[in-house]
Symmetry: C2
Subunit: 402 residues, 2 copies
């Protein structure tokens, strides 16, 4: 990175060039470091599926299989096969995970378990609808790589099941007493829209288009608070503010990730005002969520400045930072707003300096507030083969097209 | 503390004196700082019950009512009334919380909700059996202060309900798939024994004595691992080690707290070998759990040295440190082992320097690894009027009796 031309202030031409220069860095990291790391370390040759609990060196330290991460890795390798190159090692890796998911992943009514043992025995019940979301993504994407009636069937059935469960997604596992404080969470409308896009080749453009206005309205008018310039994680069912731990919660990384989805929807709809609005919310969230003392983006904040209930609130997480890089690359590509270029450079420097492991493969996931490594795992219960490769791909392609 | 005589190495006489000198410090802190803080800040005069979410200055920042903390505060003020002095303000404070608990705390079959709104509407279902445990303690202790058939009835009915639920304590809220990995947790046998002691004036010595051998066996032979010298949080139902996130989990504070319960049981049984064994496990756990780089006791560790799943693993929590002070005071009083006096001094210094707020009342609860304040709340969803006053009382009385 030393040979990089510095960004000179407010010069659109130069900052254009500068961001363009980042493209090969992201491409190389994806192809030379990240994908090979998962290919060589996460495959369970004996039982099928993937190990995701990998230590700093890539060695398996726990063999449980979390369905979020199984689905995400199938999606990732299929996606790279579909979009980067027809690399048969990637397709085989995706097929390897999909077979395990097909065989062991669901209960008798088609809900996806949260986790399984290495051998595929159910460990944790299907209480978490995101297992189903990532399974849908996995089989939709794999079906693009290798069309197959069974993959289509799994993807569509799971999608319809999610739609049915969406207003009571935890079902019998919900601990909320019904009626006292009915909140809705910002994740599900986002992910439904995203899923429908993944399924477009199966369910068709019309059905996808039917999801988009609702999602845009929910995110940009209900969860987004005009007066604060911020997006809340949870609001009352009527959209109003709930003064509770859940209601006051901000998750800057989540907002920023959502804003690049919305920018992409804006592009699809050719709605420039929407793109701009999403880009501005993203930039405002960065301003708010950036740690002015130590750098990096906070994990959780309380909108009233009260102590959040999450003890990990001040930690710096990999996914937050790589999603911010995607949002900034897209924001810059779509709006040419110089603030995006400036922020991109700042967050690029922070991210590559702190998250990338200079000695072994892949990146660290969890840093403390000061940016020091808190857990040196490369994969675990929540970190797998997903955010980093997806972000590297998105940034590479976005900046390459400038 | 500056006038304190320094502990000179291995001199039993001097270290005896030194620990004795700490007694008034603990007494004053309890009576001048901690109890007044909760008396003046946590009472909800309008709705009944207690606010526990108090910011650094003692101001309420969230009004939800968590049954753990309602029960613990009733217990605390009753206990102080029973053991320190017949202060009517304390008794009234306990009665104030108990009325709210009686009126709103239980569902139709007598399980205690996890949380309520300020007004007493149920928010979170009774998924957590510790709500019931602290309710039992509350009404048993209050019944000692002001004998009352209704308090006795609530205490006993809740206790019998806990015993019935003990092997499936999460009931319908459990997410574990039955049969794949049946683990048992070390908390429940401990707390059952502790509860029976609280109820001794109601259920009688014989019933209490019937609980003790099981608990001692579970803790000292099943959860304690001779080869490691450590206590595991979770083991298979047959007592064997489970190589999973749950099975590898160590919670040094929890072990240390359990060891002072066991030492007290050892005293009751006049079993000196048991007292000594518990004291040694406590000291070994301190050696293992002490952060050699920054000081303080880690919150969570993995017995194999793998990354724990708890992102807050390296934080320093108030209850861990004050429970260690109790364990060390008792360990010293019961065994006269000099290591207890040395550790007491070291942890006393760390705790009073880092947790006590030099400007406002009460103590901080959550520090980062370096011992800097992570959340400046004085009470929240999990921190209330319990560990600090109980520990200050226990240390005061134990050291005063030397």
């Amino acid at each position: 990175m030393d040979e990089r031309t510095p960004i000179s202030a407010n010069s659109l031409e130069i900052s254009k060039n500068v961001l363009g220069e980042y493209a090969p860095i992201y491409k190389n990291e994806l192809l030379q470091n990240i994908l090979p790391f998962w290919l060589s370390n996460s495959k369970d040759d004996k039982n099928g599926g993937y190990f995701t609990c990998l230590n700093r060196q890539g060695k398996v330290y726990d063999t449980d299989k979390f369905m979020w991460l199984q689905g995400r890795e199938v999606w990732c390798f299929s996606y790279m096969y579909n979009h980067v190159e027809k690399n048969s090692a990637w397709l085989n890796m995706a097929l390897h995970g999909a077979r395990f998911m097909q065989q062991f992943g669901r209960d008798e009514i088609g809900n996806w378990y949260f986790s399984l043992t290495a051998e595929g025995k159910p460990l944790v019940q299907p209480y978490n609808i995101f297992s189903d979301c990532f399974a849908t993504m996995a089989f939709a994407s794999l079906d693009k790589a290798q069309p197959n009636a069974e993959y289509k069937k799994i993807a569509i059935e799971t999608f319809e099941n999610i739609i049915q469960r969406q207003h009571n997604s935890k079902g019998i596992y919900s601990k909320a007493y019904p009626g006292t404080r009915n909140l809705k969470n910002f994740s599900l409308p986002m992910i439904l829209c995203n899923l429908s896009l993944e399924l477009e080749h199966i369910i068709g453009k019309e059905r996808v288009d039917s999801f988009i206005p609702t999602v845009i309205n929910e995110v940009m008018n209900v969860f987004y608070q005009e007066d604060l310039g911020l997006v809340l994680e949870n609001v009352y069912e009527d959209g109003s503010f709930c003064d509770s731990f859940e209601g006051r919660l901000l998750n800057p990384g989540h907002t920023i990730e959502a804003m690049w989805f919305i920018m992409d929807l804006g592009k699809r709809l050719e709605d420039e005002a929407l793109v701009k609005k999403a880009c501005n919310i993203m930039l405002d969230t960065l301003d708010y969520g950036w740690d002015k003392e130590y750098g990096g983006i906070f994990y959780f904040l309380d909108v009233k400045g009260n102590p959040p209930q999450q003890l990990e609130w001040d930690q710096k997480l990999w996914w937050v930072h790589v999603e911010a890089l995607v949002a900034l690359a897209k924001g810059y590509a779509y709006t040419k707003d110089d603030r995006c270029a400036d922020w991109f450079k700042k967050i690029h420097d922070y991210t590559w300096q702190h998250f990338k492991d200079p000695e072994y493969g892949e990146w660290f996931g969890y840093l403390n507030r000061r940016g020091e490594v808190l857990l040196d795992l490369k994969g675990g219960k929540w970190k797998g083969c997903f955010h980093i490769p997806r972000a590297l791909y998105q940034v590479w392609k976005t900046l390459e097209s400038l």
